[in-house]
């Protein structure tokens, strides 16, 4: 056997091996072509996991059913927010609003926590005057409220702290009404109306008389308050 000028000796098994290899390569290429075509990267693949065999009427039915479900879910979601009165307090902008569903009943300036920190002379107790964020409910409403000064009010003024309730009551500083929402926090009136719109309080929410009146009328115990 000649290969160019060189004589080569190739046995029969070697010929069979070469032929078998060629056939195997051909088969592999064939399979590769078939698989690639079957799994083609068509746009349908990215759309959904739906079987490719679904026909037009089935797809239409499925789309309609999904649309109905979405509408139901959207309606359900829209009903989540209470249709009754609710109070929203934007502590960043110092704005308060009374809403009823999507409607804004009243909206205006308020004052929220000053963020100041007070530590007593002994250094044992520290207060941070901040309005809490989150969800609350109206727990109480009082007309002509009397402020019972907490310990920090005496420390702030440098006065001795009384032992009991006596000497703590101060009238006519919280406005006409006070709406309590827990942990000693109230929405109430103020003598410092020029400070409305600033963060200057000890954590309570101060509003002017007009807004306070409207809030008081609408605020039944249990109505939601969101502070953010």
């Amino acid at each position: 056997m000649r290969f160019g000028a060189t004589k080569l000796r190739i046995s029969a098994p070697q010929i069979w091996w070469a032929a078998g290899g060629a056939v195997l390569i051909a088969a592999f290429l064939l399979v590769l072509i078939v698989v690639t075509r079957r799994d083609g990267m068509g746009p349908e693949e990215s759309t959904s996991a739906l079987p490719a065999t679904l026909d037009l009427p089935t797809l239409r039915k499925q789309a309609a059913s999904l649309e109905a479900r979405i509408q139901k879910l959207t309606e359900r979601q829209n009903r989540l927010f209470p249709s009754g009165p609710a109070i929203l307090v934007d502590s960043g902008a110092n704005r308060i609003s009374l809403v009823q569903g999507p409607r804004v009943i009243v909206e205006g300036k308020c004052s929220t926590g000053s963020g100041l920190e007070l530590t007593d002379t002994a250094g044992n107790r520290t207060w941070t005057f901040e309005t809490p964020r989150g969800f609350f409910r109206v727990l109480s409403k009082v007309a002509n409220p009397v402020w019972y000064r907490p310990d920090w009010a005496f420390i702030e003024e440098g006065e001795p702290i009384p032992k009991g309730h006596a000497g703590r009551a101060v009238a006519n500083v919280l406005g006409d009404y006070a709406i309590g929402f827990g942990d000693g926090y109230f929405i109430h009136g103020t003598l410092y109306t020029r400070l409305l719109g600033s963060s200057v309080t000890h954590g309570c929410i101060r509003v002017d008389d007009d807004i306070l009146d409207k809030l008081y009328r609408a605020a039944q115990p249990g109505i939601p308050i969101w502070i953010y």
Partner: protein, 234 residues
């Protein structure tokens, strides 16, 4: 018989098989009846629509589960590129996402994380009053060093349950300062973030999602968050 002649047969067979198969496929494609364009287009459109509706349905269902409770919740939507603070489905605040960084693998979709703590990366010093200064002085101090969102940290981590972390990073807002100042500040922020990542990651972190907001938005988000909140990540 030469070596080349010997192998010519099998290799010709290989070429023949490949050629025939290619020809067969192209012929089959041509011999198939031409697709009805309108029907095919409608099927494609419907399939796209169904995919979108399915996703929307999942999103609504996930949010509904959170909105049933009165507590506010946060929706971090990396697809829609916004962060929303909501309560009972009503949007309280919304912030546009400038950029998101997340691991390619195991990206959560409609996962609910519970906030365990906020970790500011800058110190925020509160204004202080001394005992005996009185309310007038306190008001003056409060007005002088107004406690407002602009005093909040611009970069912070929201540490959530299960080792999940939502990193909030910020870039100077478009209207803040000149273009050069903004460019320098942006470069500084990015370098700082790169340096933090280069220093290494806490091995206890399971999943880390980084969201870049405008500076003011990041501060307002920090300001608005209650101590406990559920975060819907998608």
């Amino acid at each position: 018989m030469t070596y080349s002649r010997l192998l010519a047969g099998p290799w010709s067979a290989v070429l023949l098989v490949v050629g025939l198969s290619l020809c067969g496929f192209s012929c089959r494609q041509e011999s198939e009846p031409p697709p009805k364009d309108e029907t095919a287009a409608e099927i494609l459109k419907l399939r796209h629509g169904i995919a979108e509706l399915t996703k929307l349905g999942k999103d609504l269902a996930a949010e509904y589960a959170l909105g049933r409770n009165s507590a506010p919740y946060l929706v971090v939507d990396t697809g829609a590129r916004n962060v929303q603070l909501k309560a009972r489905g009503r949007q309280l605040r919304s912030f546009a996402i400038v950029e998101t960084r997340k691991p390619a693998k195991g990206a959560p979709y409609n996962a609910v994380w519970k906030l365990m703590g906020k970790k500011p990366l800058q110190e925020t010093e509160r204004p202080k009053i001394k005992p005996g200064e009185g309310e007038e002085a306190a008001v003056a101090a409060a007005k002088q060093e107004l406690w407002a969102p602009h005093r909040m940290p611009t970069d912070f981590d929201l540490l959530c349950d299960g080792g999940n972390v939502l990193e909030i990073r910020s870039l100077p807002a478009g209207q803040s300062g000149s273009r050069i100042t903004r460019g320098v500040r942006t470069a500084y922020r990015r370098t700082l973030d790169w340096f933090r990542r280069w220093r290494g990651r806490d091995p206890q972190i399971h999943y880390l999602l980084q969201v870049w907001l405008a500076e003011g938005d990041a501060q307002l988000l920090f300001w608005s968050l209650p101590k406990e909140i559920q975060i819907l990540v998608r």
